[in-house]
């Protein structure tokens, strides 16, 4: 113990570079945004005036905000369900593979290494109205695809790109979770008379629930923040706001519309939303998955 105490300065010195970076690029802007949420700025950013909660009132009263809220909720639901469901399916299949298992795992993990903006572009190309491979494939089965015009298709495009990205992350965790389940548990269940489906739903799934819970929290945060790049590189929130999520609207209002006060108020609301969601998940879901 004493050796640790005596050198109490060393760890701080070692941490210093990281802490400085975090302070400059995270805490400072966050504090600044919190402050700005209570001010209005003039269009040139030269002067500002304290307005109390007026920014929040304005944001919460605008139909555009609630529209973005609805888009975000739908988007989150689709991405979390899609990315987790697909990842679980692939993990279960990869867990059974006996030969070349490693290759499958590496290949399925790769998409996570692709930057969200690049992932968005990849899917944008594949779904390009003129050149896209998938557009042609869809045309062959009689579907006219143009994500720049059709709001539903635009949403589908960003949902697919986001699922594709997040799926890898979930896959790694689900696979690790599956491999932690001792084979003898499933064998005992088989002897007890449980068929493959009962074993999956009665043994495997409950034992994966802590993993699934963790991923649900992670996916929610991912959808609320990280999908910005995907949207910005593909649909730009359009058409007609069909893919304008809360984080994208915040960006538009602040950096395109130059409404810094309103944008800051939205970012504070977003942080509160994440906090509340995480709290609810921990409070109510974790109790059900702990064993």
């Amino acid at each position: 113990m004493t050796t640790f105490e005596r050198h109490s300065l060393t760890p701080w010195l070692l941490l210093a570079p990281q802490l400085v970076v975090v302070a400059i690029f995270f805490f400072w802007p966050a504090a600044e945004s919190l402050r700005q949420a209570f001010y209005v700025q003039d269009a040139f950013g030269l002067g500002e005036r304290f307005v109390g909660l007026a920014n929040f009132q304005h944001v919460l009263a605008s139909p555009g905000y609630w529209h973005a809220f609805g888009v975000t909720a739908l988007f989150s639901l689709l991405v979390a369900a899609g990315a987790m469901g697909l990842a679980l399916l692939l993990a279960v299949l990869a867990d059974r593979v006996l030969h070349g298992a490693r290759l499958y795992r590496v290949l399925l993990t790769w998409p996570y290494a692709v930057a969200p903006a690049v992932a968005g572009l990849l899917w944008l190309f594949m779904f390009d109205p003129v050149l896209g491979v998938l557009t042609h494939a869809l045309a062959a089965i009689g579907v006219h695809w143009d994500a720049q015009l059709d709001p539903g298709q635009a949403l589908a495009l960003v949902v697919i790109a986001s699922i594709w990205q997040q799926m890898s992350y979930n896959f790694v965790f689900f696979l690790a979770g599956l491999q932690m389940i001792p084979a003898s548990l499933l064998e005992a269940a088989a002897i007890d008379g449980a068929g493959p489906f009962r074993r999956f739903f009665g043994i495997t799934l409950p034992l994966l629930s802590p993993t699934a819970f963790f991923l649900l929290v992670m996916n929610s945060v991912y959808v609320l923040f990280e999908t910005f790049a995907t949207i910005d590189s593909t649909t730009l929130g359009g058409p007609g706001g069909a893919t304008r999520t809360l984080v994208y609207k915040l960006y538009e209002d602040g950096f395109v519309g130059r409404d810094l006060g309103g944008s800051s108020a939205q970012s504070v609301l977003l942080m509160i939303l994440v906090g509340v969601l995480t709290f609810i998940q921990f409070r109510y879901l974790e109790r059900r998955v702990a064993y």
Partner: protein
């Protein structure tokens, strides 16, 4: 009708390894049969084939008279207790024990009654609401047995169920399994690598080596008449002393300048796997059984005697309490010659490491041929007088 019959059971894993290589055995109703052998000899594979967790490559498995090769695990009427217990961590003890009955859609009252009966039998009624992680190792072990008992299976299968327990608990659970087995009249197939566990539990013992049966019999018959050097080494603790026999000047000689005289026995019946039984019968029928290549004598059958045949140097003493193990060096023998001697006699003779002592054989000698199979001969040891003999010749 036999509870379980195996005929030439074979398991070939992908890659061609024959983990189980032609097992023949019959488990009688109410019998506790222990399969014992060193790690990797195919015990688990064999048990899992019976349970239906591994496919059967060749041969025939009958459970309660019906062919079971292709049956699903649940249809075989077997229950298995795993080494790591394999309790469902997200279910209470009650639900763990009730799982199979629930899947069979038994009435709720019947499930409750059967679980409570099994729990009472094992003394775990107070634990029914707990989760497995809230239990000690011994309690988990009981729950795992309870889960098996509730199902009222035709055969209980145990795969090294006590290996994860500490020594004291192991002895206690061993007695408990035996008590339960007798109380329920259950048929059990029990796998272990621990020969003490095997000896103390078994009605009949099966010694497995490289996927083949080396010998089947009651623990005492295996102890008294091991069919091979392998069984001789494996059964009994400390292990039997094995001394090489060499032929020179027309006489059978042992390390330490001893002469071995043998005379053929009429017959000697050893229960082994059928094909080796045929071998033994053939050699017994033959006029002259094969010559001995190895002589075995158990450490318990050596005693301190100034006129003893073995002149040895005492190298190390292990005190066990009442007895002591004396590890001695016999000239010409690499391994130590082990004797189990009463501690009192050692102390009375004021013996310690380095003392020159003589040991006499006070019990049966075991002979094995060049193939390490038991030889049906009676043996006698004597000191070498060949120097005199050859001078006369």
């Amino acid at each position: 009708m036999a509870t379980l019959t195996c005929r030439q059971l074979v398991k070939t894993y992908k890659g061609g390894q024959r983990a189980v290589d032609g097992i023949d055995l019959t488990l009688e109703p109410g019998e506790l049969m222990v399969v014992v052998g060193p790690s990797g000899c195919g015990k688990s594979t064999f048990l899992r084939m019976v349970a239906g967790l591994e496919s059967i490559s060749d041969g025939e498995l009958r459970i309660g008279g019906t062919l079971a090769n292709q049956l699903e695990p649940a249809q075989r009427g077997v229950a298995m207790v795993f080494q790591n217990y394999a309790l469902y961590p997200h279910m209470s003890v009650f639900d763990n024990m009730a799982y199979a009955l629930k899947l069979q859609k038994r009435p709720r009252e019947e499930i409750t009654r059967r679980v409570r009966e099994a729990a009472a039998l094992l003394g775990i009624e107070a634990l029914l609401e707990r989760r497995p992680r809230q239990l000690s190792g011994g309690q988990r072990q009981r729950v795992a047995m309870g889960r098996a008992i509730v199902r009222e299976p035709r055969v209980f299968l145990f795969d090294e169920p006590l290996s994860n327990l500490d020594a004291a608990l192991r002895v206690q659970m061993r007695l408990e399994i035996r008590r339960l087995q007798q109380r329920l009249g259950a048929s059990m197939l029990y796998v272990t690598h621990d020969q003490v566990e095997a000896m103390t539990l078994a009605d009949r013992l099966v010694v497995l080596r490289d996927g083949r049966i080396e010998q089947i019999g009651t623990p005492m018959s295996l102890f008294e008449t091991p069919a091979s050097c392998f069984v001789a080494r494996f059964i009994g603790s400390p292990a039997m002393n094995l001394l090489p026999v060499t032929q020179a000047d027309g006489r059978a000689r042992l390390p330490g300048g001893l002469i071995l005289d043998t005379e053929a026995l009429e017959t000697e019946i050893i229960e082994t796997a059928p094909e080796t039984k045929a071998d033994t019968a053939a050699s017994a029928d033959a006029a002259e059984p094969p010559a001995a290549a190895t002589l075995g004598v158990r450490p318990e059958h050596l005693r301190l005697d100034p006129q003893g045949e073995f002149a040895v140097t005492l190298e190390m003493i292990e005190r066990l309490g009442v007895d002591a193990l004396a590890y001695c060096r016999l000239p010409g023998l690499d391994a130590p010659l082990t004797a189990r001697l009463p501690l009192a006699t050692l102390e009375a003779a004021a013996l310690r490491e380095g003392s020159e002592i003589r040991l006499a054989v006070d019990g049966p000698l075991h002979l094995f041929d060049a193939e390490e199979r038991r030889v049906a001969r009676r043996a006698r040891l004597s000191a070498d007088t060949s120097a005199a003999t050859s001078s006369i010749a």
